[in-house]
Amino acid sequence: MKNQGPSLILLLAAAVLVAAPFGLKPYGIYLLSLWAVMTIAAIGLNLTLGYAGQISLAQASFVGIGAYAAALLTTHGWSLGSALLVAIVLCFATGWLLGYPALRVAHHYLAFVTLSFSTLVYLVLRNEEWLTKGVYGISGIPRPTLLGWSTKAPLDFYFFCLGALALTALGAWWLIRSPWGRAFTALRENPLRASSLGIDTRRYTLMAFAVGSALGGVAGTLYAPLVQFIEPNAFALGLSFNLLLMVIVGGAGRFFGPFLGAAVSVLLPEWLRFSEGLYLICYAVFVMVLLAFCPAGLLGLGERLRRSWPPSSKSAT
């Protein structure tokens, strides 16, 4: 009785992702790599927002913290692996602290708290020149060599990012189907009942922020060697909104939502470039129409179509 459909789609998607960069120009490969990196950040935000129901407008800050950690450490001779560890620990701890306001406020109030944090991080990146070189940014960020495999070429680095995405997705999948994922969902749906069932809502809220932020840091560590030049504006509020959009457009609280959402956000504007000056308008209209008619995002839309097709095959008893 087991449905083979989903695993088949998954296999097909993996094959497409492996085959996609061949025959693409470096810019196309760059976009695919960017998609993989942004998906990792969006998976993190999906944990915090989609599953645990805690809104955050600061995900870009964690991408920024990760990117600067990677840039500063690897330009000083550290390996990307150790930079990754530093970024994860730093973002996990900062995310944990950022979770504290979420214990007191929710919804748009929490959005504002995270918004101010986002501004704070931006100001630190821009003004603390002794550390971050301010608006001049950091350039010459090296790409890593993995067990003798140099990822310097765009194609190699794409596969490096794809591998990182696969590992992240596997970890996130494990977490979501574990008791933690269930507790996160309980936190979102009914914290009062959750606490009466022994769920430590305080600890899980902080954990949801910390884990989501740590994944933002992972994305940042990959972003720095991908673009090889970073400056504070890349991690300003715009990226936070963009990541939020990815989660919601894809389908918040759905495992594959970030994958689709990031594809829409990274690739769609490029495909719309033929319309020249109109492409951002087309993109904006698409997002507005989607959210007006399907607030549950693309995956929600897919589920709705599947349920109505074939018409009335299943009736509840």
Partner: protein
């Protein structure tokens, strides 16, 4: 016999209104205590003060002789105290099975062992037994929100028992449940009471239900206990009749 739950001189004021006014009582192991009273007499407020959802203005609550006033609800639950709420509280998007797993998982191992361990926290068999016991087996994979009100109510009660609590406070378990299911619910509660020596405190407006289930009944009116006794005594108590009729 030691009291499982002991409430001493508990009061809760909201501004000038004393919703609970100097209530004292004890519940013994294996007892099914009924808590009745007109609407607004302070029953749910009393529950919320006992269970840490509200901070009492004064007084003390002890479980097994240990003071628990001010303990967080999640910590109380892990001490073996379960509850249901007056209004239905299930997780509508999770399946019945997931709801039950969720209700038991925090009692299994530590936070880290739960992350690294199996997805069901080793509770699949227990959840299956609970589904069987409450005759919800056929619906195990449906989202809880798709169930009828009465079925959700059964699930709600089943969730309170998932962790094998020794003390359960049930706030109107019979509300909105049809007659057939009500008899069923009563039998389930009696069976758990007998098998696990679980102690219950039940708030209920359905008199037939409460009289046939409980061994002892407390009557609350305007925040105070006005009568206490076996169901037969309470049924004929003048003060109780007056309180309900509003004299």
């Amino acid at each position: 016999m030691a009291a499982v739950l002991e409430v001493r001189d508990l009061s809760k004021a909201f501004g000038g209104i004393r919703a609970v006014d100097g209530v004292s009582f004890a519940v013994h192991e294996g007892e099914i205590l009924g808590l009745i009273g007109p609407n607004g007499s302070g029953k749910s407020t009393l529950f919320n003060c006992i269970l840490g959802q509200l901070a009492p203005s004064s007084g003390e609550v002890r479980v097994d002789g240990r003071p628990i006033t001010g303990t967080r609800p999640c910590d109380l639950n892990r001490l073996g105290i379960g509850r249901t709420f007056q209004l239905l509280q299930v997780f509508p998007q999770l399946s019945l099975r997931e709801n039950l797993l969720l209700a038991g998982q925090e009692h299994q191992g530590t936070m880290w062992s739960r992350l690294l361990g199996p997805a069901d926290a080793g509770l699949s068999a227990a959840a299956e037994r609970m589904l069987e016991f409450f005759r919800l087996r056929a619906l195990a994979d449906e989202p809880a929100g798709a169930l009828s009100y009465g079925q959700q109510k059964l699930l709600d009660v089943a969730m309170a028992f998932m962790a094998g609590p020794r003390l359960v406070l049930l706030d109107e378990p019979a509300g909105g449940v049809n007659l057939t299911m009500l008899a069923d619910l009563r039998e389930r509660l009696r069976a758990i009471n007998a098998a696990q020596k679980a102690t219950f405190v039940v708030i209920e407006h359905n008199m037939d239900f409460v009289m046939s289930l409980c061994t002892r009944i407390l009557v609350l009116a305007e925040g105070r206990i006005i009568a206490e006794g076996a169901p037969a005594e309470i049924r004929n108590d003048r003060r109780v009749i007056d309180a309900y009729l509003g004299h």
